[in-house]
C-alpha cells in the first residue's frame, strides 16, 4: 500500500514531532522553562484589599533578586517605571483588576496572560542594561495601544 519513500517520510515526520515533544518536556520539567502557569485564585473585585496586591511595588528579596507585585488595569501597569541593576533576577506577581490583559516585555521572553480572578507569576533575569518596553498584548479596550511602561536596567 505504501511506497518505501512514504514510509521513510512518515517515519521522519513522526520522529520530528516526538523530537519536539522530548525537547519541550526536557526544558519544561528538567530546566524549569515551562510557560507561566501559576493558578492561585483571587477575588477580581477585591484586588486592592487582597495581599500582596494591597501593596504593589518592587521589593528586594535576595542578592540580585527582586519581587515585583503588579496589578494590571485599563490602561496601566501598577507600579510603573521599575528600576533594577543589571544581572538581577526579577519575579513578577501579576493580576488583573478588570478585563483580560497581556504582560509582555519586548526583547525578553516575558509573556503571560493576566486573567481576572487568577494570580500569574513569571520570572526573568535581566543581564543587559537598557530600557525595556513593557506592554499589554491582549486587546483590552479603547486605550489598549497606550497601555505600556518601562523597566530600566542599570
Amino acid at each position: 500500500m505504501m511506497h518505501r519513500s512514504e514510509k521513510v517520510w512518515l517515519f521522519l515526520s513522526f520522529g520530528m514531532i516526538i523530537g519536539f515533544m522530548l525537547i519541550t518536556g526536557y526544558q519544561t520539567f528538567a530546566l524549569e522553562m515551562g510557560p507561566p502557569s501559576y493558578g492561585e485564585r483571587i477575588d477580581p473585585q477585591k484586588v486592592d484589599e487582597t495581599a500582596p496586591f494591597d501593596n504593589p511595588g518592587i521589593k528586594q528579596i535576595g542578592e540580585d533578586e527582586y519581587e515585583v507585585v503588579m496589578t494590571l488595569q485599563v490602561f496601566s501597569f501598577t507600579p510603573s517605571k521599575i528600576e533594577v541593576p543589571a544581572g538581577s533576577t526579577v519575579h513578577f506577581i501579576l493580576t488583573s483588576k478588570d478585563v483580560v490583559h497581556g504582560f509582555q516585555v519586548a526583547e525578553t521572553n516575558l509573556n503571560a496572560m493576566v486573567v481576572p480572578g487568577y494570580v500569574q507569576k513569571i520570572t526573568q533575569k535581566f543581564d543587559n542594561p537598557g530600557e525595556y518596553l513593557v506592554l499589554c498584548n491582549e486587546y483590552c479596550g479603547a486605550g489598549h495601544q497606550m497601555m505600556s511602561t518601562t523597566i530600566t536596567v542599570k
Binding site: 511506497h3 493558578g39 477585591k46 509582555q104 518596553l133 506592554l135 479596550g141 489598549h144 497606550m146
Partner: protein, 564 residues
C-alpha cells in the same frame, strides 16, 4: 415491497446519471451561487477593512472616531473568519454533495436555505452593535469584556444556521448510504461529512459559552466565569480554522489531481487523513492558552502533544500531493529528478492557485508546529508573528485554494465557462496575491519576533525607542495590504463575471478517479459513529481536567466591562 424499492432505487440511479450528464439542477445551483456570492462580498468588505488596518499600523492613516481601529478589526475578523469561511465551505460542499450524491434532497435544500437566512440574520444582528461601537470585542469576545447582548444573539443565529446545514448534509449522506448499501461514501462527500461533523461538534462549546454570556450581558446574572468562557471559546476557535483547512485539503486530494489530468492519491490513506483530522482537531484549541494561568504544566504538556499530533496528517498530505504531481507529470513524459515539474499546467489558474496554496502550507505548517510548542509559544504569543501565521495559513493556504476552486465551481453552478481571458486574469491575481501575502505575512512574522503586539492600533508607546524600531517593518503591512486589496478586487470581479456574464456552456465538476489498479478501501473507514466516539473521548481527555478545575475551584466571577 421489493419491487417498489427496486423501482425507487432505479429512479435514483437515473437521477444520479442525469445529474452527472446535465450538471447541477437549477435549484441546487441557486443555493451554491447564493452562498458563494455572500462569501465573496464578505471578502470584498473584509479585505477593505484589512487594508484600513494595514495603513493604520504603518502609521499612514488615522481612523476616525466613528469607525475606530478596534471596530474595523472586529468586523474584519467576523467577516473573514466566520462569514467567508462558513459561506464558502457550505456553498462548495453542498455543490459537492449535490454532484456526488445525485442531487440534494428537497428537504435538505430547504434546510440549507433556512440556514442561509439564519446566518444572514445573525450576521446583521452582530454587525449593528459593532458599527454602533457597542461590540468592539474582537471575534474572540473574551469576557469580562461585554458587548451589547444583541451581538451575542446574532452569534447564536449564525451557529444555529450552521447547524441546519450540518444536519442537512448528514441527512443527505445518510439517505445516500441507505440507497447504496455496501458502498463507500463518494470521497468529496466523505470530506463534507468530516467537515460538517467538525462544524457541529466544534461550535457546541461556543454555543454553550454564548448561552452563559447572554444573561450576563443583559445584567440578569452578575458575574461570569472568565476562564471557562475562554476555554470554551478556543475549543471552537481553533476547530474553525481547521475546518477551513480541511475544506482546502479536500480540493487538494480530490479536485487538483483531476485538473492536472491525473488520478487521485490512495483512497484509504485519504480517508485516514480525514478521520485523523476529525478526531484530533478540537483538542488543538488549547495551544491558544499555553501562557494562561490556572492550567498546570503537565496538562499543558499533554495539550502540546495533542496539538502537534494534528501535524501528522498534514505531513501525510504533503507527501501525497507531491507524489500525485510527480506521478502525473511523469506519465505525461516529464523527466529528471525535478525536471518533471515542467509538465504541470502552470498557466491554469485552477492549478496554480491551489498549488501556491499548498506550497505556502510548508512554512505555514512549520511555523504552526514551532509556535504550538510551550516555550516557543511564550516568545510569540499575541505578537504580530501570530497574525503573520494565520495570514499564511488562512490567507494563503486556504483562501488561495478557495480562489482556485471558484474558477471552475462558479461556472459549473452558473452553466457558463471559464474564458481564457479570465483564466489569465486569475493567474495575474494569483501572482499579485502571492506577492502581497508574502510581503505582509513575512513582515508580520519578523516584527512579531521583535515584540510588536497584535490587535493594537498604531502606537509608538510614547516614542519608545524599541517601538519606533518596528516602524520600518510595519510599513510593509501597508504595501502588502494594498497589493492584497488589488487582488481582492480582481478576484471578486472574476467571480461575478463568471456567475453572470461569461459565455454559456458546460463546465465539469472535476473529481479525480483512483488509480485503475487501486486496492479496494476497507469498510471500516465508513464507521463514522466510531470516529465521533473517538473524538469525544479525546476531547474528554483534554478538557475534563482543566474545565472541572475552573468550575469547581472557580474564583469569584467578573462583572461585565465596557472598556472602549
Amino acid at each position: 415491497m421489493e419491487t417498489i424499492m427496486n423501482k425507487s432505487g432505479k429512479t435514483q440511479v437515473i437521477r444520479e446519471k442525469v445529474n452527472k450528464v446535465l450538471g447541477i439542477s437549477l435549484e441546487d445551483a441557486r443555493l451554491t451561487k447564493s452562498y458563494l456570492s455572500v462569501a465573496f462580498l464578505a471578502i470584498l468588505l473584509g479585505g477593505l477593512l484589512g487594508l484600513l488596518q494595514g495603513l493604520n499600523r504603518a502609521g499612514l492613516l488615522e481612523l476616525p472616531v466613528w469607525l475606530n481601529y478596534y471596530q474595523v478589526l472586529t468586523a474584519h475578523g467576523l467577516l473573514l473568519v466566520v462569514v467567508l469561511s462558513a459561506f464558502f465551505t457550505i456553498g462548495y460542499f453542498y455543490a459537492g454533495l449535490s454532484h456526488t450524491l445525485g442531487g440534494l434532497l428537497p428537504k435538505v435544500r430547504k434546510m440549507a436555505w433556512i440556514g442561509f437566512w439564519m446566518k444572514i440574520f445573525g450576521f446583521v444582528l452582530a454587525v449593528i452593535p459593532i458599527l454602533m461601537n457597542e461590540a468592539s470585542v474582537m471575534y474572540t469576545f473574551y469576557p469580562p469584556m461585554a458587548a451589547s447582548p444583541i451581538f451575542y444573539i446574532g452569534l447564536v443565529f449564525i451557529v444555529l444556521g450552521v447547524w441546519m446545514c450540518a444536519f442537512g448534509a448528514f441527512i443527505n449522506v445518510a439517505s445516500w448510504r441507505k440507497r447504496n448499501p455496501g458502498q463507500h461514501i463518494p470521497i468529496l462527500s466523505f470530506f463534507a461529512t468530516g467537515v460538517f461533523v467538525l462544524l457541529f461538534f466544534g461550535s457546541l462549546p461556543v454555543a454553550i459559552e454564548v448561552f452563559t454570556i447572554i444573561p450576563w450581558a443583559f445584567g440578569w446574572v452578575e458575574t461570569i466565569n472568565v476562564m471557562v468562557a475562554r476555554t470554551l471559546f478556543w475549543a471552537f476557535g481553533h476547530t474553525l480554522v481547521n475546518i477551513w483547512y480541511l475544506t482546502a485539503v479536500s480540493a487538494w486530494y480530490v479536485i487538483v489531481p483531476k485538473i492536472i489530468g491525473g488520478r487521485r492519491w490512495n483512497d484509504l490513506l485519504t480517508r485516514i487523513v480525514v478521520i485523523a483530522l476529525v478526531i484530533m482537531n478540537i483538542t488543538g484549541g488549547f495551544h491558544h492558552q499555553i501562557i494562561d494561568p490556572g492550567i498546570s504544566e503537565p496538562v499543558k504538556y499533554m495539550h502540546v502533544f495533542m496539538s502537534l499530533a494534528i501535524g501528522f496528517p498534514s505531513l501525510m498530505t504533503a507527501y501525497a500531493m507531491f507524489a500525485v504531481f510527480e506521478r502525473t507529470a511523469r506519465r505525461k513524459g516529464g523527466k529528471g529528478l525535478v525536471g518533471w515539474y515542467k509538465k504541470l499546467p502552470w498557466g491554469d489558474v485552477r492549478f496554480l492557485a491551489p498549488f501556491i496554496a499548498m506550497a505556502a502550507f510548508i512554512p505555514a505548517g512549520a511555523g504552526g508546529i514551532v509556535q504550538s510548542t510551550n516555550q516557543l509559544n511564550q516568545v510569540v504569543h499575541n505578537t504580530m508573528w501570530i497574525v503573520g501565521h494565520f495570514h499564511l495559513t488562512l490567507g494563503m493556504s486556504v483562501v488561495m485554494t478557495f480562489f482556485g476552486i471558484s474558477y471552475w465551481l462558479v461556472p459549473y453552478v452558473s452553466k457558463r465557462v471559464l474564458t481564457p481571458q479570465i483564466n489569465k486574469l486569475g493567474v495575474i491575481q494569483t501572482i499579485i496575491w502571492t506577492i502581497g501575502m508574502v510581503i505582509m505575512s513575512g513582515a508580520m512574522h519578523w516584527v512579531g519576533l521583535l515584540g510588536s503586539p497584535r490587535r493594537t492600533s498604531y502606537s509608538t508607546y510614547f516614542d519608545n525607542a524599541t517601538a519606533l524600531s518596528w516602524d520600518p517593518y510595519l510599513f510593509f503591512l501597508a504595501i502588502g495590504g494594498t497589493l492584497l486589496m488589488i487582488g481582492v478586487l480582481i478576484q471578486v470581479y472574476a467571480v461575478f463575471y463568471l456567475m453572470f456574464f461569461a459565455p454559456k456552456g458546460n463546465t465539469e465538476f472535476p473529481v479525480a478517479e483512483v488509480e485503475e489498479d487501486a486496492a479496494p478501501t476497507p469498510r471500516w473507514t465508513e464507521r463514522w459513529g466510531l470516529w465521533i466516539v473517538c473524538m469525544i473521548v479525546l476531547v474528554g481527555m483534554a478538557y475534563v481536567i482543566p474545565l472541572v478545575d475552573f468550575i469547581v475551584n472557580a474564583p469569584p466571577g467578573s462583572p461585565p466591562y465596557k472598556t472602549w
